[in-house]
């Protein structure tokens, strides 16, 4: 079977049945958890300090549950209503938004101490219509520009995704750079076809993790 992002837009692909199948699959749960912990590691937040995070494509809250456990306050956005329904049922702590990240964010500048995204960016590489505003480069540009602005300076965003080619990695990296991000790509298990994981590690400013607590 072809990759999910090639079959239908995410809000269609993840209907009720697929959303619960996805969430209840223990193998998926484990992979998502591993990647969330790895993303948090790469986010490099100061240990033991609270932080306000954005979970991009939060889905049914698999990564959000880990953010809860780790004591982070977070906001999650996703374009699939069925996934958000499951997240509500699972009673995650984060605020949830129905949002198409390709349309950009409206968060005020400097809102978040960091952002993570697990298995989402590949969806932005597929156009949904022939309208010019829905071309992948257009959607990626809007996404990265508004994400950059929503993050504090300095801070990081770590986005794990499944590219199908080096060209896709190139495209995404160059658009992120144009939006003002520094940083680059980290590849875990580069020689294993199955375990290979690509993390886009983006820096706002020098990318140092921002210290959240300041004396009142």
């Amino acid at each position: 079977m072809s990759r999910p992002e090639l079959q239908a837009p995410p809000e269609i692909y993840y209907g009720d049945a697929e959303a619960s199948k996805y969430t209840n699959n223990t193998r998926i749960q484990q992979i998502q958890a591993d990647m969330t912990y790895r993303a948090l590691e790469l986010l490099n937040l100061p240990p033991g300090e609270p932080a306000f995070l954005l979970d991009i494509g939060c889905g049914s809250g698999l990564s959000g549950e880990i953010l809860d456990e780790e004591g982070y306050v977070w906001v999650g956005v996703d374009v699939a209503p069925s996934m958000l329904e499951v997240a509500l049922e699972r009673e995650v702590e984060g605020d949830l938004f129905l949002q198409d990240i390709g349309q950009g964010f409206g968060f005020r500048p400097g809102s978040f101490d960091g952002a993570i995204s697990i298995s989402v960016l590949q969806w932005l590489l597929n156009a949904e219509t022939s309208h010019p505003t829905s071309s992948p480069p257009h959607r990626l540009a809007r996404f990265f520009t508004t994400l950059h602005s929503a993050l504090r300076n300095p801070s990081r965003a770590v986005l794990q995704f499944y590219p199908t080619s080096d060209d896709q990695v190139q495209l995404i990296t160059s658009i992120a750079q144009k939006a003002g991000f520094g940083g680059g790509v980290v590849v875990d298990y580069p020689n294993s076809k199955k375990a290979r994981k690509v993390f886009l590690c983006l820096f706002v400013g020098d990318g140092r993790a921002a210290s959240a607590a300041q004396q009142l």
Binding site: P50, A51, D95, F107, R108, H131, L216
Partner: protein, 112 residues
């Protein structure tokens, strides 16, 4: 769930809507209060990010100086908006909130 902490960060993102697009105005809201763990360190770190006028407008509550952090905790992290809508003061776009989830999707002509 939308808490006031998140509403405080939210501006309209419709195409060309760049001034006077904040804060989004609540209407017909159904509020719920849900207890949350008190985390003074988080609040201290968050204080510089708060837009006070917007918060006061949204909460219509005054914080006493005696226990500022406790009050802020209650207003920002325990006050949820479950139903209602948020309207952009500039372009008038209405973001509906249903079952605690705001719908931030834009129409084709509103995408920048």
């Amino acid at each position: 769930m939308v808490r006031l902490i998140t509403h405080n960060l939210l501006a309209c993102h419709a195409k060309g809507c760049t001034t006077n697009n904040y804060p989004l105005k609540f209407s017909n809201v159904k509020l719920a209060l849900r207890e949350a763990d008190f985390n003074p360190d988080f609040l201290r770190g968050f204080l510089p990010r708060i837009e006070w006028d917007a918060l006061v407008q949204a909460s219509r509550e005054r914080c006493s100086t005696t226990d500022l952090l406790k009050q802020l905790h209650h207003v920002l992290l325990e006050t949820h908006i479950d139903e209602g809508s948020m309207t952009c003061p500039n372009c008038g776009h209405v973001y509906p909130i249903s079952n605690g989830i705001p719908n931030m999707l834009l129409a084709e002509h509103e995408i920048g």
